[in-house]
Symmetry: D2
Subunit: 201 residues, 4 copies
């Protein structure tokens, strides 16, 4: 039997991405009009692949159905927002929380509390109320927000996970953690300089 739950959920998952992207672009325009600075460098998004959606449902002991995909998997829709400065990250979080059709489900501040390996990022999960054809559908959206530098670090760290038989793995892990901390320091310095230049405080 063909399971087409994946194709059917696509309409809502893709719709959720475009809805949240429109919200983010509106925030950008608003902030540029207010203080002449775009808080976002770029936005990317992905929808969990069919295989990994099935695998996740199965692992959780759930049936592979459209309903479960939409109501039990928090990261079916993943969005990533890259900012130049750390304070931009918090600006975005604040502005997103003001939307009435975004219900906060969960958030984790890995910038204030980095993971042991050095990972820094703000994670937040919303339940979006998405209108379509006269009905309102709840869709989860997982959003990761971080600076360009944190994102660069994280994409390198990510590569390591998918390599086997890496020589000197311990050394690499250690070096990556050091880099993460140096990058965080530079991010703060750059933000301080920006505030001095623009007399922001």
């Amino acid at each position: 039997m063909k399971i087409d739950f994946y194709k059917d959920s696509m309409v809502l998952l893709e719709g959720a991405i475009e809805n949240v992207t429109a919200k983010l672009n509106l925030i950008r325009k608003y902030k540029i009009a207010q203080n002449d600075r775009d808080p976002i460098e770029y936005i990317s998004s992905r929808i969990k692949s069919e295989d990994s959606m099935k695998e996740k449902l199965t692992r959780k002991g759930l049936e592979v159905t459209l309903e479960n995909a939409l109501t039990k998997v928090y990261d079916a829709v993943g969005m990533r927002i890259i900012c130049a400065y750390i304070d931009d990250v918090y600006t975005i979080v604040d502005m997103l929380k003001k939307y009435k059709d975004l219900k906060l489900i969960k958030e984790k501040d890995y910038i204030k509390n980095p993971k042991p390996n050095g990972y820094r990022s703000y994670h937040i999960i919303f339940e979006l109320s998405l209108d379509l054809a006269g009905e309102t559908h709840p869709v989860f959206v997982e959003i990761q927000i971080r600076t360009i530098a944190m994102d660069f670090w994280s994409s390198l760290e990510h590569q390591m996970k998918y390599k086997k038989d890496i020589k000197n793995q311990e050394l690499i892990v250690e070096e990556l953690a050091k880099c993460a901390s140096e990058i965080a320091t530079t991010d703060i310095k750059m933000q301080t300089i920006r505030k001095m230049i623009n007399k922001e405080e």
Copy 2:
């Protein structure tokens, strides 16, 4: 004194376009999932230029303010939706009317009741409730929906209005009206053939 009402209203006007575009793209995905056919060929949009916004407010005897631009000018935001077939036009109208945050202000069916010059198009004005920074802003959006063939005709008819000293103007107007009616006939024939091929009825 510099009037910057225009720049300030841009955030909401551009935000309205992106919001409605996201709604339209969701409708497309939904219809493709339902019956494998995209009801929209393409979407375009424009924001009334500063000069023509001021001119309109002045003509109406209104002050040139942000508030008046947003609350008294119906066509500050104009969107155009081009469909392959006539029935797609009505599909879009129906689906848009189902959105809770789109309030119907006015509609005119120039397809069923063409203008004397041959102009055919469905015109509809909505008031969109646009959320931003914890507040809800009403923004008018004027939408014109028509077939590719009607749009082609209309862009030629539009050229005529901006030309001076056209020789044989009466003849051209007459020929354009004839073309409009032939185009309408072909649109209906093509739709009939599509239904026969796909056994839609």
Copy 3:
């Protein structure tokens, strides 16, 4: 054995599309600067799917290799250019022929000489000399150029080919042929009106 000829040829095939698209966009800008009119409505493109590329090579009695895919299949890259008016089609053909790195391989004018079913379009195959990494690679590009109305007709006619058990097929074929001829007449009338309005002759 995994045949990866497809993935390897992608670089050149996709590169060819972007190269020709850049040429077309330059032509548009040039014509707009010259006479204020964009000769192109839109451009689309596709690369032959892996299966249909293999099938074509096999049918021709050729080995499935990268070299054969690039040197024996004329329509591995297909581009479609949609114009508002018939004379735009010929403008594009003329301008493309002036490029030194586009070698004319074959052309067929189905606008002057429509197919019996009513199909109208200008077909032209070029061999593009594509520079990459210090070497010049020949890549075939098949281009179809037609008006919006011809394209609309052709997409409906195309639907018919993929349906089985169509009732009244003969009637449909006949009606489609009639529509094609009416559409062609309207295209000419609209072009005549455009010339009268703009005093082009």
Copy 4:
């Protein structure tokens, strides 16, 4: 007298940007096919504004003409290429130099030899031979290539230049120079880790 040299040169300047962008995208595809890594994060471009083009010509004691704009101003077209890693910068430079229709005019390696203020970037000026309507037009293109981190630094440093009455300017300049050097160190460390992970050497 209306000087429209600017509008006329646009066709070639915009055409040059699209031509070089197509070359860069081809390089990306080629490198991804070769070693599974995209050497470019993103590309941006700008055309010198009319005022600043006139100002530059006048400052050089030249007449404000289309010909002078195209043949005497090296940076009428500016492109910026942002890479993740330092070695990607040199990969791009090497690949661009292999194009027969790009003639090297000038290059400056501010990565190996940073400016005193800490600025790091690879600058290269090419003369592109752009075909249009049967003629070949030479167009200068100035390209700046740098890492994400260098680009972040440079956009902050750029802000300083446009501010007046900055308090503690000397301190800021000093802090920026320190940041630049720390960023450069991190860039090298990250590249080293990448090579270790991927056993590139």
